[in-house]
Every structure is written in structure tokens, then in C-alpha cells.
């Protein structure tokens, strides 16, 4: 990005960047521009994700979902946002008003800060930080500060419960997250997001997830603990609506409330992108060597598309999980972390180390294992999809027999 900015600067002002006294100013300007783009991307994604999630949930529950605002209800999220804008910004009388007002900004900063280091395609990243994923881990921990302060300052017992649960949860789950990321860091030999992707390949057997059984386990640990860090079902304890009314954001209203769900949906992208870039090969195009990508705009676009498809697939799975699973209890939540995830992650760490020494990446056996594992993994996935389809078809037939009307309708055509 810096090189790109330098080039742009040179082209516009026809001055060598390094000589210019305005260089710093130029950088500041670029910084604002990039943050503007990222922020809008995140906000837009959060909004559309909220709509998509509601439509998917409706599909799973034999409902229609939002369908009135705009064609197929696609502008529902705008309407909701607008409604939130117009709501009164209530601050409880006994709340700690300063912290209450401040708390959403922490959540906001913590989550949107993560977008800085997330890649979107070949060479497209706001800042290819040397400490990339380490930075993402660190900056998202600001979210918990926002949640705790929001919950505490509301001066409501429900909110306090939510805040305490959130603190316990995020502190616990940062450890398996970090440990399972260590596998990838070890394999790639770098913390930078781009070089982690670059050290993988386009084909499934070149992804880190199929490197060894240990990384496969690490992948699942990372996925589960990302869910927990993002407060998604089955770990949505901090805002468990049937237990804590709405948890830490019970007392919030209007725009300040909006920030919490928005951050949650933006977090979907962070989870998806993190999983994709660390374990699923990122934007790598199958069969294309890295060096050839910069020469062609088409390959550039394909890399972006691939990254988006993978990320959205993960997001889709996360959404489906949310509408399928019940919530775990708070003691079970910590139990899962400390008795299963952390020890298994440690074992995976050591196992991967040994595996790396025993079967190097390029060795015949290593490649064979990777191909075998990816084949098995792919088959399992296809089997699951076929089974789901089979169940669905039976259900559909029964429904048609009972009601005489089709159970299925295309998403763009409502009954």
C-alpha cells in the first residue's frame, strides 16, 4: 500500500516522493482516505449481512423475512439504521453517563481497527503490517473493554451479568485463538497476513487446513473460538436474550445501541476473513503462480473474487450455526475452553512442529497426505450437503402433499 501510495503521489505531483516536504501530509491524507473506504466497507457489509442473515434465518424457519423495503426487502437494513438514528438516545438516570456514552466507541474502534490488516485480494490490504494477525488479535480485544464498560456503566443487573460473562468468555477464548493461530504462523514463518496467504497455494491440498491432522484440528479450534470471541451462537452468552433480556446492551437505545449489533455483523467478516486467510488459502488462485498475478488485471480480480467467495462461505456457515444451535451455559462455556480447546491446541502446536520436521511441505509423503486429507474432507462436505438436500426433498414432498402448494420458492420470488 505504501509503495502504491508513493507511486500515486509521484504520478499526481511529478515529484519524487522521498524528496517532498509534503510527504507526511500526503500520508495523512491517504490514511484518511483508506480509513474512509474501510469503514464504509465494514458498515456496508454489516448492514447487508444483517439483511442476509434475516433472510437466511427466515428460510430456515419457513418464514419469508424482510421483504417490503425495496425489491425483496434489500433496503431493510437502511430502514432499520434510519430508524435507529431517529430514536431517542436514552441514558439511564443512574448510569455512569460518561462511560456509558464512551463504551460503544471502544467496540467500534476495536472491531473496525481489525479491517486495517485484513487482505481483500492480491496486494490489497490497507496496511500489510509485519505483525498482521497479531495486531488483529490485539485490536479486537478492545471490543471486550467496550462491552464491559457498557455493561457496567448501565447500572443494570442484566447488563452487568452480560459484561461479566463477556469478560470471562473473551479472556478464556483468546488463548485457544492465539494458540491455533500459532500453527499457521509456524507454517508460514510470518505474522503478516499477506505472506501467510502467499505461503499457501490455490489448490485445497495446498491450504494449511489440510497440512496435517493437527492443523485440521487447529482449524476447528480456531473457528470455534472465533465464534466465541465474536459472541455468536452457541457462545452468545453476553447477550443471551432469553436469559439476560439483552445482556450488556440492555439499556442502550438509538445510535449507541446500533453500534453493538453493527459491530457483531462486521465481526462476521473479520471471522470469515481470518479463517480464510489463515487456513483456507486466502485469495490464492488454483494453478496460478504468484508472480504472474500482478501482470494481469483479470487475475487480480479473480483473486479478490476467490477471497470474497471463501469468506462469504464461512460467514454463511456461521449464520446457519446461529439459527441451528442452542446456547451453552456459562460454566460449560469455560469448561469447553479450558478442558478441551486449550489442551488440544497445545497438542496440535507440538504435533505440527514434529510434523513439519518429519514431513516437509514439499516432500512426497507430505504432499500425499495433504491430497488424501483434502479429498476426504471434500467428500465429507459433499456428503453432508447431499444429506441435507435429501432430508429437504423429503420434507418438501410431504409438505406439498399436505398443503397442495410448493414448499420451495426461489429467493427472488416470494409466494
Amino acid at each position: 500500500m505504501k509503495a502504491f501510495a508513493d507511486k500515486l503521489f509521484l504520478n499526481i505531483f511529478h515529484i519524487q516522493a522521498a524528496d517532498s516536504p509534503y510527504l507526511a501530509l500526503w500520508y495523512v491524507l491517504m490514511m484518511f482516505l483508506v480509513s474512509f473506504i474501510l469503514l464504509n466497507f465494514a458498515a456496508l457489509f454489516a448492514g447487508i449481512a444483517s439483511y442476509v442473515e434475516r433472510r437466511i434465518a427466515a428460510r430456515m424457519q419457513n418464514r419469508i423475512g424482510p421483504n417490503l423495503v425495496g425489491p425483496q426487502g434489500i433496503l431493510q437494513w437502511l430502514a432499520d439504521g434510519l430508524k435507529m438514528f431517529l430514536k431517542e438516545d436514552l441514558v439511564p438516570q443512574t448510569a455512569d453517563k460518561f462511560i456509558f456514552r464512551l463504551a460503544p466507541y471502544f467496540v467500534f474502534a476495536g472491531l473496525f481497527g481489525a479491517f486495517v490488516a485484513l487482505p481483500f485480494g492480491y496486494g490489497i490490504v490497507a496496511a500489510d503490517l509485519n505483525v498482521g494477525i497479531y495486531y488483529i488479535l490485539a485490536i479486537t480485544s478492545l471490543v471486550v473493554v467496550g462491552i464491559i464498560s457498557g455493561g457496567w456503566s448501565s447500572n443494570s443487573k442484566w447488563a452487568l451479568f452480560g459484561a461479566l460473562r463477556s469478560a470471562a468468555q473473551i479472556i478464556s477464548y483468546e488463548i485457544p485463538t492465539g494458540l491455533s493461530l500459532m500453527l499457521v504462523v509456524m507454517l508460514a514463518g510470518s505474522l503478516s497476513t499477506q505472506s501467510i496467504i502467499e505461503s499457501q497455494g490455490g489448490w485445497p491440498w495446498e491450504w494449511f487446513v489440510f497440512h496435517s491432522p493437527f492443523t485440521l484440528a487447529g482449524f476447528f479450534i480456531f473457528f470455534i473460538s472465533s465464534l466465541a470471541e465474536g459472541n455468536r451462537v452457541p457462545f452468545d452468552l453476553p447477550e443471551a436474550e432469553s436469559e439476560l433480556v439483552s445482556g450488556f446492551n440492555t439499556e442502550y437505545s438509538g445510535l449507541r445501541f446500533l453500534i453493538y449489533p453493527m459491530a457483531e455483523w462486521a465481526n462476521l467478516w473479520v471471522v470469515g476473513a481470518m479463517v480464510t486467510l489463515t487456513y483456507l488459502g486466502g485469495w490464492q488462485i488454483p494453478g496460478v503462480r504468484l508472480e504472474t498475478i500482478p501482470s494481469s488485471v483479470l487475475l487480480f480480480l479473480i483473486s479478490i473474487t476467490i477471497f470474497f467467495i471463501k469468506t462469504l462461505a464461512v460467514v454463511f456457515i456461521v449464520i446457519q450455526l446461529r439459527w441451528t444451535l442452542p446456547r451453552v451455559r456459562v460454566d460449560q462455556m469455560t469448561l469447553i475452553c479450558w478442558t478441551y480447546l486449550v489442551p488440544i491446541a497445545l497438542i496440535c502446536l507440538i504435533g505440527t512442529m514434529i510434523w513439519m520436521l518429519a514431513f516437509p511441505w514439499k516432500s512426497v509423503f507430505g504432499t500425499a497426505i495433504r491430497i488424501l486429507m483434502s479429498t476426504v474432507g471434500g467428500s465429507v462436505m459433499i456428503w453432508c450437503m447431499l444429506r441435507a438436500r435429501h432430508n429437504y426433498v423429503i420434507d418438501k414432498d410431504r409438505f406439498e402433499k399436505l398443503k397442495g402448494i410448493p414448499a420451495w420458492y426461489p429467493p427472488w420470488k416470494l409466494p
Binding site: M60, P234, S242, E243, V245, T324, P326, R329, K401, L402
Partner: protein, 388 residues
């Protein structure tokens, strides 16, 4: 409420009995809370997530139905009974009709009895939909609840075709039922059963065997058989504790002796006997049995009258009766005293939720806050039935 001192005086008894410890925190759970199933209030004394006590505070939905009964003619009281338990209105209909018929010595035609059984069992299934689905909803799984709502919609359609109402049916009359079944209804019901019976398996795959769901319910809020008897639990809650009392079998009222069905008992499916999962599972199993009963009833249903000839202004000699049915929430009883006029002298409705609610105080000790929700959900408490 202008006078805060008066309000404080009014809620004084809700404060926990003993002085709270330093670490204790009291929490008002309800009356408006997503998972209280109506308007209820629990005063929860907790130490962090672990509860020391949950004191139910009921009465928010008390409408004085028993007092209303004393001012209403027998035939006019039927719509009120719908409101006792709005999720299973047929049973209250039936038990009241049975009580009056018993007092006035009215012979109910066979066809009416069969119709009553069919609608009651359909209603039982519909009620268990809400019970099991809402339990899943309380534990955070939304989809199972909506899945059951879809199935319940079919039952509502059937009821609508039968009596025009979808929730408060007011279907039964003293001496029979209000209307006969339309000709195509048996076919409709059978088609629904064909559709529905495999759905139970699907539902089990979706939620009953879900590991998180099982972990949340198994070994939680165990009610021992002794406690269950002592606290007067009835219906599925009692049977989940392993005590096989089902008034359909024990009393054999109406035409239930004609049918071949089983009474599912809790046996510690995934944990201890009488835990929340047993209470859940007993309800799921009962649905299958209800399907069996409906199928047999549709086969055996005789022709003839659907309502006995009963005077509009019914006067009943001085007498008293206590009639009971097995409602979806267990034994529902009506104690009816007549005094020769056209109105009851005294009517007392005994409901299953009332006694189920009284066990919360004991069963909730030492649970976690999240388990309280599982406990209330698994007891299948309906607030208007508690308060009447």
C-alpha cells in the same frame, strides 16, 4: 402508584427471608422478561451466576374466573374456560362440560365423546409443540420453535375448519360438542398425521439429540419421585419423574378405555431420572401416542347425534362433583357445587401449572440463572393457568 411507601409495603414480602450475604445479589426476573412464558415474576437471589433462591411471585394474570363462574349460567361459562389455559383450551372445555354433565346427569352421545377425544388429542399435540419448542427457544435455539409453529399452524387450520376458532375454541357444549365434524375433516386430520409423524424424527435430529441441548437439560433441576408426589406435580412433569399416573388410563374417563396407547415415562434418557431432559422427552413421546389415539378414534368414530338434548337454561339440583381430565399440563380438575339455580354455587379450577409453579422455589436452589429458564421451560408453566 403515587405513594412509594405503599408500594414498598406491597412488595415487602417478596424480599428474601434471610438477610442476604455480602456476596448475594437479588434480581427481579420478570414480570416482563423474554422467557417467563407470560407475566410472571421471580425474585432471584444469586451469587454471581449461581442462584440461591428463586421465589415465584404470581398473580399478574389473575382474572377471578372462579368468581365470574358464580355469576354466569352454566352454558354461558364455557367461553371463560378457554381462557384458563389458552394453549390447551379444549381440556378446560371438556373438564367443565364433564362436571356439569355429571351433576345434571346428562348422557353424552358416543359420537360427541369421540369428537372430544380427537380434538383434545390434537390440542395436546399443539400444546406440546409450544412446550417443547419454547424450551428450545429459551435455550437459544430459535429454529426448532418456529418449526413447531409451522406444524401447529396445521392443527390450527383443522380446528378452524371444525369450530371456527384457532386458539380459544369454545367447541364443547354441555352434553356434547357445538358442531359436527365436516365430511372432509377426517381426511384432513389423517393427512396431517401422515405429514407430522415423520417430522418428530426430523425434530429429534434437529434438537432433541443435539449435544448442546442435551448438555443443557440432562441432570439439570432433577425432581425426585418423592418430591414430585409431595409437590403435587401432575401430567408429563410427574411422569418424567417415573410415576406412571395418566388419568386417561387410571380413570378411563370419556372413551379413552377404547383406545390402545402407551403412557411414556421418564427413565433418565440422558441423565438422572426426573431431570429437565426427561420432562422434555416425555412430551415428545406423548405426541406420538396422541397420534395413535387420533388414528384409532377416527377409525372407530360412530355415527349419530353429536349433542344431547340439553335445556338452554340448565338448572341443576343441589349436588357437588369433582371431575378431572388429563390435560396437556396434567390433571385439570373442576370442583363444582350446584345449588338448584342456573349458576354454579362455587366453581374451583385446579390446574397443573399451579402446582408445577410451587416446586420452582425448591427445585431452583443451587441452579444457575440459565438453568432457571430450563426449569421453567421444562415444567411447561402457562401463566394464566397458574393465576386463573
Amino acid at each position: 402508584m403515587k405513594n412509594p411507601a405503599k408500594v414498598n409495603e406491597a412488595i415487602r414480602h417478596l424480599k428474601p427471608q434471610a438477610a442476604p450475604f455480602e456476596e448475594e445479589m437479588s434480581l427481579n426476573f420478570g414480570p416482563q422478561h423474554p422467557s417467563t412464558h407470560g407475566v410472571l415474576n421471580f425474585l432471584v437471589v444469586t451469587d454471581g451466576e449461581v442462584m440461591h433462591q428463586a421465589l415465584p411471585n404470581i398473580g399478574y394474570l389473575h382474572r377471578g374466573i372462579e368468581k365470574l363462574a358464580e355469576m354466569t349460567p352454566y352454558s354461558g361459562f364455557m367461553p371463560y374456560t378457554d381462557r384458563v389455559d389458552y394453549l390447551a383450551a379444549m381440556f378446560a372445555n371438556q373438564v367443565f362440560a364433564m362436571a356439569v354433565e355429571s351433576l345434571a346427569e346428562i348422557e353424552v352421545p358416543k359420537r360427541a365423546e369421540y369428537l372430544r377425544v380427537i380434538v383434545c388429542e390434537l390440542n395436546r399435540i399443539a400444546s406440546h409443540f409450544i412446550a417443547t419448542g419454547a424450551l428450545a427457544l429459551d435455550l437459544g435455539a430459535v429454529t426448532p420453535f418456529v418449526q413447531w409453529l409451522r406444524e401447529r399452524e396445521f392443527i390450527n387450520d383443522i380446528m378452524e375448519a371444525l369450530c371456527g376458532a384457532r386458539l380459544t375454541y369454545n367447541y364443547m357444549r354441555i352434553g356434547g360438542v357445538s358442531v359436527d365434524m365436516p365430511g372432509d375433516l377426517p381426511d384432513k386430520i389423517l393427512r396431517f398425521l401422515d405429514h407430522f409423524e415423520p417430522i418428530i424424527d426430523e425434530y429429534n435430529r434437529l434438537i432433541s439429540n443435539n449435544e448442546i441441548f442435551v448438555k443443557r437439560l440432562a441432570d439439570v433441576a432433577v425432581i425426585s419421585p418423592i418430591d414430585a408426589v409431595n409437590f403435587g406435580l401432575v401430567g408429563p412433569n410427574l411422569r418424567a419423574s417415573g410415576i406412571g399416573i395418566d388419568l386417561r388410563k387410571t380413570l378411563g374417563y370419556s372413551v379413552y378405555p377404547d383406545f390402545d396407547f402407551e403412557v411414556p415415562l421418564g427413565k433418565g434418557f440422558r441423565g438422572a431420572l426426573g431431570d429437565a431432559y426427561d420432562r422434555y422427552m416425555v412430551r415428545i413421546l406423548e405426541m406420538t401416542q396422541s397420534c395413535r389415539i387420533i388414528r384409532q378414534a377416527l377409525e372407530k368414530i360412530p355415527g349419530g347425534e353429536y349433542r344431547a338434548n340439553v335445556k338452554k337454561k340448565l338448572k341443576v339440583e343441589e349436588n357437588e362433583v369433582y371431575s378431572r381430565v388429563e390435560s396437556a399440563r396434567g390433571e385439570m380438575g373442576v370442583y363444582l357445587i350446584s345449588d338448584g339455580t342456573d349458576r354454579p354455587y362455587r366453581l374451583k379450577i385446579k390446574t397443573g401449572s399451579f402446582t408445577a409453579m410451587s416446586i420452582v422455589e425448591k427445585a431452583s436452589q443451587g441452579l444457575m440463572v440459565a438453568d432457571l429458564i430450563a426449569l421453567i421451560g421444562s415444567l411447561d408453566v402457562v401463566a394464566p393457568e397458574v393465576d386463573r
